[in-house]
Symmetry: C2
Subunit: 335 residues, 2 copies
């Protein structure tokens, strides 16, 4: 093993001073002469010294590491959130380690079970499970957790999400204003706050305009394109067809559009479609897809900022941040 890297001992030996002084010099300037501090820094650079995070972690009880737990990264929303997280983490000298649950409750549990809590300063999570005791346990053990997007209701900690309720209101109201009257909503699984809020927003608009509300026009399923297709096929079997579809997700909306196209139904003129996310595909598909833009990047940044506050200030009071969405009108809702 020739790859023994240089340590503060080496620096100390070189300068004939103690490791304690070197350690102080490298961090804060407390109790150390400006001149010796400079000598230490110079020598550190010269020897190409890199701090050993394991040792620091052991001694200080804190690492430069935060974990991200989320369902997957192969979609626009999550990959953009991560990019935002990474931006803030990088600026503050934190590393991020990634845990993918594949949207499986089991796997999420197993990940949390086997987490080396001692090598993590905090956790950013978008959960895939309805229960949240495993996260509560983490918090009780003293490691801060911040939720984003798919948040856990019961846990008291900081949470960051888009304004799902008002986003849904805007989407539905946009359909109303464009002359659609029989509006269906295809959405994610029950139990998710995100799902509930969007349904509430949708219903509130129907109520406001005294438009028809039908049980069978609210379809709960997954977030994938396939489920969007399935949902529409299901909807079109009902006796009275809706003339507009609000999908809780652009991928679902795309699936819906594909299903409509297959049946020769004209999107826009016959049935309006609006999505949620502002995934780039919404500008690529034809007709282009109206949608509610989510501030994914900012959600990532904000989540990370909050987590860092939890980490640095021991008794930081949890904040729930709701970032606004924005309606983007395109062709799919034009009559």
């Amino acid at each position: 093993m020739q790859n023994r890297s240089v340590t503060i001992k080496d620096i100390a030996k070189m300068l004939n001073i103690s490791v304690a002084t070197v350690s102080r010099a490298l961090r804060d300037t407390y109790d150390v002469n400006a001149e010796t501090r400079q000598k230490v820094l110079d020598m550190a650079r010269q020897l190409n010294y890199k701090p050993n995070f394991n040792a620091t972690g052991l001694a200080k009880g804190s690492t430069h590491n935060i974990g991200i737990v989320l369902p997957f990264i192969t979609n626009y929303y999550f990959s953009t959130v991560i990019t935002g997280i990474q931006e803030i983490a990088y600026e503050n000298g934190f590393n991020i380690t990634l845990y993918l649950t594949n949207d499986s409750e089991e796997r999420e549990l197993s990940i949390i079970e086997n987490l080396s809590v001692s090598s993590l300063d905090g956790l950013l999570v978008s959960t895939s499970s309805l229960s949240s005791v495993h996260f509560q346990e983490l918090i009780d053990m003293g490691i801060p957790v911040v939720f984003f997007d798919r948040v856990a209701k019961e846990v008291v900690t900081s949470k960051v999400m888009q304004d799902d309720f008002n986003g849904a209101v805007e989407a539905t109201e946009h359909l109303v204003k464009n002359g659609y009257r029989n509006i269906a909503h295809i959405t994610g699984p029950r139990g998710l706050i995100l799902t509930e809020k969007r349904v509430q927003g949708y219903l509130s608009v129907l109520e406001k305009y005294q438009y028809p509300v039908r049980e069978e026009w609210i379809v709960y399923s997954g977030f994938s394109q396939e489920s969007g297709e399935g949902d529409v096929n299901h909807l079109l079997q009902s006796a009275d067809m809706p003339d507009a579809i609000f999908a809780s997700n652009d991928r679902k909306a795309v699936g819906a559009m594909q299903a409509l196209k297959k049946r020769g139904i004209a999107i826009g003129s016959e049935i309006g479609v609006i999505g949620f996310t502002n995934d780039p595909i919404s500008t690529i598909i034809s007709p282009t897809l109206s949608t509610i833009a989510e501030p994914a990047f900012d959600i990532g940044k904000k989540s990370c900022e909050l987590l860092l506050k939890h980490i640095t200030k021991k008794n930081f009071i949890p904040e729930e941040v709701i970032l606004p969405c924005r309606l983007i009108e395109r062709e799919s809702t034009r009559r």
Copy 2:
């Protein structure tokens, strides 16, 4: 600080045995009685013991951590590769920490400079810079590096990539067989192996069929949708227009298609378009996009497997793995 977590000392104290025995019992079964081993495991579970990776890392000189360095994750290819990496890492009890370079050479350098090499067992990288001395330094320091996709020519280590040459051959030949004769190629930046190989594959087919080769029909630029649009606008200014476009990337192909649509040029019948990647958008855009499917997930898995071999076997002989691509015919190349 009430969050002192349980250590092997606690287990040892509970069972009235030494920490050394506990340590051995928790790992291999070497030098420890089956019965005591069981008692230790039971007690560990009962106390909810989680190993401290920092301590392990310090003592063993190895962490359970591998780093991934890549340009970004907000596209289908890279996010899928990461998912593959993560799969293998998870199976083997490794964590992955993510470093995004934003496709900036500067940032990549800064990341490598500040890397805490001691907290990393190995590195998986898709580089954004033409030079590669910084990676060579890492390898010299004894930390294994495996390249994927955007590999560094000069560094001797394991590399995993798709078969860019033959993929390009298949794409070009597919255009030839569908009756296109004047075939242009819009591709990524010069200097990338991946770019070079695809150009070579493209040229080899033109040569084979003795089809026209024009300097101005090979356009080097970026990988984005915008650059695809720009490339086509540039191409259409040339005196003799091509009747087919081979794009080195689906996003570029989409940009190209958008540009063609804007000019009212019929895709397929007038100008054929084929991409590379098999991004899901290729089935969503209309007409659907023919493309060369890359084995992104398998590239991730294979890269990680190789890295783990480098990590465990000190003198593992580097392997260069080339995974096959696959032609997918869709509407954009149908006359």
